[in-house]
Subunit: 99 residues, 2 copies
C-alpha cells in the first residue's frame, strides 16, 4: 500500500498527489503499477474504471483490476482483436482437441 | 450507412447531429446500434474508441468495433471478469479435453 501522499502507480502516471480513499491506490503500488495504469487509462480511461471499481465490493476489486489490466494490455498489443484473439485461439484449440 | 444528418446509433446515443466523416458512422447504423454504442461508451469511452479506430486502416475497423463491442457487453454483464470469464471457461474446457 502506498504511503499517504507518496505517489503510487496511478498518481505517478497522472502526475497528481495521492488522495485518501483513492479507489486505485491498493492496486497499482507495485513496480509495474505506472505501466499497467497507463495501459488501462489509454484503453478504458481512468474515470470509467474508477466508476466500475467504485460499484464493486472492495473484496472483488482486485480481480477486476487484474482482468481490466489484461484486456487493456491485449488491446494495446493487438488493436483490432485485443483479448478476443486469445478467445479465438482457445476456440481453435478446442476444435482440434474435440473428438 | 446513415443518411447525412440522420442520427445513427452513436449520434442518437450522444444526442448530436451526425458530422461528415465521423469514425463511428459505418458501424452503428443497425437496429442494435444505439445499445451497442451505449455499452462501448460506458466501458471504454467514445473518445478512447474513436482514437483507436482512427489509428486503424479503414478495412480493419469493423473487426475492431465487433471485438470492442463484445468486450464492452461482457464487462457490463460481468463487471469483475468481463470477457476474461470466457477465457477461463475455454481454458477449463481444454483441460477437460486434454489427454
Amino acid at each position: 500500500m502506498a504511503r499517504a501522499g507518496s505517489p503510487y502507480g496511478a498518481c505517478k502516471f497522472l502526475d497528481r498527489k495521492c488522495v485518501k480513499g483513492c479507489v486505485f491506490a491498493p492496486y497499482f503500488c507495485h513496480e509495474q503499477g505506472p505501466a499497467h495504469f497507463a495501459a488501462i487509462h489509454k484503453v478504458f480511461g481512468a474515470s470509467n474504471v474508477s466508476k466500475l471499481l467504485a460499484n464493486l465490493p472492495v473484496g472483488e476489486r482486485h480481480e477486476a483490476v487484474v482482468t481490466i489490466s489484461y484486456e487493456a494490455q491485449a488491446r494495446l498489443h493487438d488493436p483490432i482483436y485485443g483479448s478476443v484473439s486469445h478467445i479465438f485461439s482457445l476456440q481453435q484449440q478446442i476444435r482440434l482437441l474435440s473428438p
